[in-house]
């Protein structure tokens, strides 16, 4: 089932085109990362999907119907609350506004506070929260009403490493119940929990990566070789068909049709090249990203 579909999404501010002709499909239980440099239009896209700004052109649907806001949980890039409120009060207000019943409010707010690790901070006003805690509360309010679609604008950029891992674990769990779309600069996270990635550049979607497909693609003979001495590239070119990354002591590429990994190793031993690392290499998102950005 397609939880969220955008077709030909465009946003113009006067002459400036923030997002141009973007297509996107988010299926049930799917997680998609929105990647791209600053100013690529990620935030504008998320705001349009969340219904905060109206697109100049294009349409947004959910399961072939008009998307309603009850279904969406949204976390803005800089979550802002009312400083004089307690976290539980905010969650209950948010829940009520999203149409939750009074009975479920209390229990659910405690549950999401626990999920985001804020149970102990309950007694403090939001004004006394640190940036990381606000980010967590932002996530808590986004999932408060058990939305079907979760839209997150850089959910981890304000967090310390431990917090980042926490949030990623939470998202991993949420994947069971919701379709998630989030923008991020941390490619590693995107790769770990997402199935797909949409790469944007100056308002346009320039690549739609399906990471699931890569994982099944091990038969491509891609190998990484790292050495202690600078590599002599001439000899290696006979063994590698395609070289993707080449640094002085590192090479990643696809082997020629009739070359086995053992032959590569043997060659290194013969040439007395000190091997530091040798192994099969899946194509990773970072490479893709850089490739797409430069291309």
């Amino acid at each position: 089932m397609t939880m969220l579909e955008a077709r030909g999404l465009t946003k113009r501010y006067g002459k400036h085109v923030a997002v141009k002709d973007l297509n996107l499909q988010l299926k049930k239980n799917e997680c998609i990362a929105l990647l791209g440099p600053n100013g690529a239009g990620k935030t504008t896209t998320l705001h349009m999907l969340a219904g905060l700004i109206t697109p100049t052109d294009g349409m947004i649907m959910s399961d072939k119907k008009v998307l309603i806001k009850d279904k969406i949980g949204f976390l803005p890039q800089y979550p802002t609350f009312f400083d004089w409120m307690y976290p539980k009060e905010y969650l209950m207000l948010a829940g009520t506004l999203s149409g939750m019943t009074k009975k479920t409010l209390k229990e659910r707010s405690l549950h999401v506070l626990e999920m985001t690790g804020l149970l102990e901070a309950q007694k403090r006003k939001i004004g006394a929260f640190s940036g990381g805690m606000k980010q967590r509360l932002g996530l808590a309010q986004a999932i408060m009403h058990q939305p079907k679609i979760l839209l997150l604008d850089e959910p981890v950029s304000a967090l310390d490493p431990a917090g980042r891992i926490d949030v990623m674990n939470i998202l991993e769990n949420l994947k069971k119940d919701m379709a998630i779309l989030f923008s991020t600069h941390v490619l590693h996270d995107a790769e770990q929990i997402c199935d797909k990635a949409l790469i944007m550049k100056s308002g346009q979607s320039i690549s739609y990566e399906n990471m699931k497909e890569w994982k099944g693609n091990r038969q491509r003979k891609r190998y990484r070789l790292e050495t202690s001495d600078p590599l002599q590239i001439e000899g290696l070119q006979k063994l590698y068909k395609e070289i993707d990354i080449k640094e002085s002591q590192k090479i990643i590429g696809t082997l020629r049709h009739n070359v086995t990994p053992n032959m590569l190793l043997q060659y290194c031993i013969q040439q007395d090249i000190g091997i530091q690392y040798f192994g099969a290499e899946e194509k990773n998102l970072e490479e893709h990203y850089i490739e797409v950005m430069e291309g």
Partner: protein, 258 residues
């Protein structure tokens, strides 16, 4: 309705935590009470001041109760109006600027509910403060000067309430298109002052407009009944408030840029 209630409730908690619920009534009460009390002590103050030559006798006419209450209203008309604008200028601007408004609007909330939750709360708060203050001023006036009848006090109260609602509505209206609270206060006071000044600039027209509210209230205090223009003034004021509210809701819907 559930959403309105939730937002309305939030406004009250906010007013309580930021102590607006206490300071606003206290300040309005102070402004209103100072008038009858200072008028009462005026002869004593003058007597005790050294600026008078010894032996000089001052004959101050003792004002009637109606005059004292009218003075109270005119005091409110200047200082009180400014305080109301100051109390209302932040309510939308702050939430819009820091982004908490955006987070609210990612939920199914419409601008009408949002604006009316604020408007209703502010109107109730200010009218509540005004009721207490005007009641206290009436009590003092009766005790220190001559009695003023309940009918005239009640009528002047209702008429003046409209002015307060108008000031609140103008301030909220300006808040929907300006982003700095200082600007909101400035422009709101400018608008309100122009309305008031109209009665000296164009008295022929202003007699039917909200500009005439203070005069009407004073008149009612003195004569117990309003002039023929009372109906017209009430109608134009209510119409003006309604138009402001409608445009505000419509405009806010279109121009909310996060």
């Amino acid at each position: 309705m559930k959403r309105f209630n939730a937002l309305f409730h939030k406004e009250w908690i906010e007013a309580w935590r930021e102590k607006k619920l206490v300071w606003l009534p206290a300040v309005i009460l102070l402004v209103t009470l100072l008038q009858p009390i200072s008028l009462y002590f005026m002869p004593t103050i003058l007597e005790n001041s050294n600026s008078l030559p010894p032996g000089a006798v001052i004959e101050l006419p003792i004002p009637s109760g109606a005059e004292v209450l009218a003075g109270t209203l005119s005091q409110l008309h200047t200082i009180g109006t400014a305080i109301i604008v100051l109390a209302c200028m932040n309510v939308i601007v702050q939430e819009r600027n820091n982004g908490s408004l955006m987070q609210l609007f990612s939920r199914p909330v419409n601008t009408t509910t949002y604006i009316f939750s604020k408007w209703t709360m502010l109107v109730l708060l200010h009218l509540g403060a005004f009721t207490i203050s005007y009641g206290a001023a009436w009590y003092y006036t009766n005790a220190l000067f001559s009695d003023v009848s309940f009918t005239s006090v009640w009528k002047s109260f209702v008429i003046y309430c409209l002015w307060i609602v108008l000031v609140i509505t103008v301030t909220l209206f300006v808040s929907t298109f300006l982003r700095r609270s200082g600007g909101v206060a400035g422009i709101s006071i400018l608008i309100v002052a122009s309305i008031a000044i109209l009665s000296t600039v164009m008295p022929d027209i202003a007699i039917y407009l909200p500009s005439n509210i203070l005069n009407l209230a004073t008149e009612v205090l003195n004569t117990e009944k309003g002039t023929v223009h009372m109906g017209a003034v009430l109608a134009t004021t209510i119409a003006f408030i309604a138009i402001l509210l409608l445009t505000m809701v419509k405009k806010f819907e279109k121009s909310v840029k996060f």
